[in-house]
Symmetry: C2
Subunit: 189 residues, 2 copies
Amino acid sequence: MGRRERKKAATRQALADAALRLFLDRGFDQVSVRDIAEAADVSTTTVFKHFPSKEALLFDLDSDREAALIAAVRDRPEGMSVPRALCEHTLRMHSDGTDDPEMARFVELTESTPGLREYGRRMLMRHEAALAAAIAETTGVPADDPGCAALAHFALETVGFARGRADARRSIEAAFALLEHGWPAAGQR
Amino acid sequence: MGRRERKKAATRQALADAALRLFLDRGFDQVSVRDIAEAADVSTTTVFKHFPSKEALLFDLDSDREAALIAAVRDRPEGMSVPRALCEHTLRMHSDGTDDPEMARFVELTESTPGLREYGRRMLMRHEAALAAAIAETTGVPADDPGCAALAHFALETVGFARGRADARRSIEAAFALLEHGWPAAGQR
DNA sequence: TTGAAAAGTTGAGTCGTTGCACTTTTTTAG
DNA sequence: CTAAAAAAGTGCAACGACTCAACTTTTCAA
């Protein structure tokens, strides 16, 4: 890697670090892009050469998420259903956000700012097609099967559903119970 | 109704009309709020006294939607399941958008602009709580039952899912089939 | 060494949106 | 009925996110 790319990476990292620090300190809306640029000692325009938007400064670590999602489906234990595997994966991701206090503050920031909620949701939904393809593959149906796409969409949407509900874990489980067993018929209630 | 309110209503209508005309003509992003204000012969500030955002200029008619949604659940034929009723209602709403050519252009506009898609989705999702309550009522469970909330959320989310897919009707039906019967067990495939 | 491409930086500008001040209308008090 | 005060409408100027067109610097091959 040449000197140039190293410097570019350093600037990028400095921007992401400064942004995270300022956001956690003052809140997303109380920090302007100018502030971040100044803290990293570059001009505001330069910020947008490295990141497509103000929100993107926070979601710099987006990789691996898709891979973990696909793996949860593909490498699930023998005999476990796809919705069940996705449920457990979602619960696992969710508890990751409440263990580490550093991470907890980050999660709290993203969930309390409407703009960041939307952005996070869109980031997550970009994996819909890949997840649908993985589901189709393990169940042996055509890759564009609408049922697989629907399951993928709803499974990803579940975190958005649980957000803001009183008992998040119970909401996640209820959502996946619906996806796995369907709406209970009139007699079974 | 006094003269003042009449004038206010007239200005509001003029703004909504001018906005719709310009948006259909040039596209949402190619029209600035200043253009709309000028077309209605007011200042840009006045626009935001009547509408909370640029997007709101298009979604002026949002009422009745929630009422129709609730009615579809509450007044469904004897013996019809809740997901089935919601499926038919969703399909009915969807075909409304493709019949009338005027409406078709409107739908095409809202679906082709990312900002408008998000806004429309949020408008729709505001009905989640009311729909969940209606579902809970007809099935005789506590109003805050997470299963009902999940069904409400996913049913509303279905239009967002079908959007942008090749065969929208088939996608809607597949989504509701999943919600009604659940993910088919390994043997049934 | 040189010269052109790639990348970084900048200042000026656009667009959505909001605070502050000003004008007009409606309501209230004398 | 009139004056004052409250309320509502309107516009100018400004802020913050983001883009564009130019300019400067860095890199690297010939």
